[in-house]
Symmetry: C2
Subunit: 100 residues, 2 copies
DNA sequence: TTGATAGTTCGTATATAATCGAACTATAGG
DNA sequence: CCTATAGTTCGATTATATACGAACTATCAA
């Protein structure tokens, strides 16, 4: 794998984004990326198997929420904050702002 | 069925709400209720079978998004706008504001 | 009380998603 | 080249959702 394809946000539906965010593991990833700014897959696995994490990162990428950059042996992930904010104004603020 | 139980919004997780909103049929229902203010189940079915609609309304109610009031033979639905806005500030604005 | 209407519940079929081990790929360092 | 590390892909299993016909319940009106 040389690098990832990241969808144009214009091609991502709100349903797709909401589905990606509705899983607790993925929501946790998104929250951590929001704080950390950038993190490898392993840094966010919380003890879960690599293949499960790989699946969740793929879903997050396909929903346009996460960008993954290959840096040597690590895959570094970031939230596509600005683009998502442009496509779905207020969505991430709302989702990340919730307590409990 | 005499009347429905509607959950306290405090007991609804953001994951639950996002999941309820991530289905196209339900999102359509929510959009229509946002415009119409109140509507019967039949008014929103778009030709789909009653049992399918009943399922989607149940999911929307369990996620705290929709209130259903029995009025004679009809079940009238409304968005629980204020309560949802209090629990998840900005979420409905973001979801309902999206075009495309 | 009969019939019509609105919606639920049940049961089942089907589709979609989550989980995770095992084998694989790619990169870096010794 | 060998090995360790990070992550992917595959495949199977299991869980969760959706879809919807059929039978049922509740209300209203004639």
């Amino acid at each position: 794998m040389r690098n990832y394809a990241h969808p144009d946000l214009a091609d991502v539906t709100i349903e797709h984004a909401l589905h990606a965010l509705s899983d607790p593991v993925r929501l946790d990833i998104v929250r951590q990326l929001d704080r950390a700014g950038e993190a490898s897959c392993a840094a966010l696995d919380g003890g879960r198997p690599k293949s499960s994490m790989s699946h969740h990162f793929r879903v997050l990428r396909s929903a346009g929420l996460v960008h993954t950059r290959i840096a040597g042996v690590q895959h570094m992930n970031t939230l596509r904050r600005e683009e998502v904010d442009k496509r779905f104004p207020g969505l991430l603020d709302a989702v990340l702002g919730v307590k409990g």
